[in-house]
Symmetry: C2
Subunit: 141 residues, 2 copies
């Protein structure tokens, strides 16, 4: 099991050193081992974790939601139903996002098609295609 410095995992995962420290403070990364001189020693798998965080952010998850996602696991002493319930609520959230994105994609595709058929379009074709209301309202509930 190879151990890496903060600079090495930062480069390999494409985030800044300060960001790694920030995530550690915020509890998205476990406190790493230290050398006798106080240098952090990260396990290689922290790189996947950091990359996951970046991807999840692009999907509109907040750092808190990402923390929850990352902590979903079956621990020896944990109630299985508990984890299951949490995971299922995450699945629902993910499915909601997928549906919205699929509608958005459909609207965009229609736009590119109509584009070269006729000349003058509506005020806002995306809105024509996508009508509905937002479902979740995280961020200040």
């Amino acid at each position: 099991m190879k151990l890496l410095t903060i600079g090495q995992i930062a480069i390999r995962s494409g985030v800044g050193i300060e960001t790694v420290r920030f995530y550690e403070r915020e509890g998205l990364l476990a406190k790493p081992e230290r050398t006798q001189s106080g240098y952090r020693q990260f396990d290689e798998e922290v790189i996947s974790r950091l990359m996951f965080i970046q991807r999840a952010k692009e999907l509109g998850f907040t750092l808190n939601e990402i923390k929850e996602l990352l902590s979903l696991r079956i621990e020896p002493g944990t109630c299985c139903k508990n984890v299951r319930a949490k995971a299922e609520s995450k699945i629902a959230a993910v499915e909601g996002k997928i549906r919205m994105l699929q509608r958005m994609k459909k609207a965009l595709v229609r736009l590119t098609q109509e584009c070269c058929e006729k000349g003058g379009g509506s005020e806002c074709p995306i809105l024509d295609a996508l009508d509905g209301r937002p479902r979740t309202s995280r961020r200040r509930g």
Copy 2:
């Protein structure tokens, strides 16, 4: 065509009045007509626009990206290829998000299944299932 006050569209679309003014300043909403006393008079369709903005935010789009999405239309004088190219790049972005969400969903589903079969799980099953790197890096490259 019914005209509404800022308070009315705020309530109907589920955002705050200040947020509406903010979006107007930021160019996400067109400057509305005004009464002789200076009150904004919004067209009812602004409500869909506001709801679209909320949904798109939940999908990880920034206000700037949302502005671009909303401005994608075929204007009489606009080059069709131009709009088409922009729309296609948006489609690619949307597809990328969908793919990532589908992988995430698969990982979560697997988690719920493994959950009730065996007892002790991996350190982080989500990461086990989802390995790969982030693709787009918007936000201050």
